[in-house]
Chain length 154, copies 2
């Protein structure tokens, strides 16, 4: 298990797009129960099966396993809950830290969020000028919740 | 994905116990949704994460991944639905085919079932004399269902 400490923010404008190269992500869920989320993800040509425990503050247990791409494709096509989530992830280096900016498509078109992974809950970091309000604790933005309550319906 | 074709039977008496060596299995579920079951299992000192699709007749899609034992232990202790399932599995060779006899403990104490894995739905096989009625299609005997409706409550 790794412990995932992430903070999530809304994003201003589209100027961030010039700062990195986006990669396509397609993901789906075998469980969206917040006590035991099970996610299948294909990013570029790599596939993972990820298990996440309940979030405690901004800390969350996470177990991740690489799986064959073809099997991830089967799981996404045949087994995962509908709809799948499709987004483009752009990694942007800012003052020594990596920001991951996710631009959503489909039912979540128009939603753009940026995440930063920290080593501790107290770690300081610099906010790029394209970062807006923090939504770490807003459950609407959990990817698993974007399935049933997509951004377009807010 | 492999396709799992199994038939499941009740078991008569305890004479079968002399025919093989039992190994301890401890397993739990991250999802018991019959469309996308996600199981964590420790058998002896090997751990697996297994995903199963919906059963069609006696055929079921199955994806299985080996995971580190210590991580399986974390998942069982911290994340899986309660209760866990504990059973002893005894593999018995009978006329060239392997039967797996599962003897349950805890809330399912008293339940003993035997499974045989086939290459096709039509494949013929010989029934040992300790095999009783078939329960392949009886959902009560699905391991995932034995959590919420254990044998002791039938």
């Amino acid at each position: 298990m790794s412990v995932e400490i992430e903070r999530k923010f809304l994003v201003l404008g589209s100027g961030w797009k010039a700062l990195g190269q986006g990669v396509a992500i397609r993901q789906g869920y075998l469980s969206t129960n917040p006590d035991r989320v099970v996610r299948v993800r294909i990013e570029d040509d790599a596939a993972t099966l990820t298990i996440k425990g309940r979030t405690n503050g901004i800390t969350r247990g996470e177990w991740e396993y690489a799986i064959p791409l073809a099997e991830a494709d089967q799981l996404l096509n045949d087994l995962c809950e509908r709809p799948l989530i499709e987004k483009t992830r752009t990694r942007i280096l800012h003052e020594g830290m990596v920001w991951e900016v996710d631009e959503f498509f489909g039912d979540n078109l128009g939603l753009v969020v940026a995440e930063i992974e920290l080593d501790s809950e107290e770690q300081a970091f610099s906010r790029p000028d394209w970062i807006a309000e923090e939504v770490t604790d807003d459950a609407r933005y959990f990817n698993a919740n974007l399935l049933r309550h997509p951004f377009s319906a807010w």
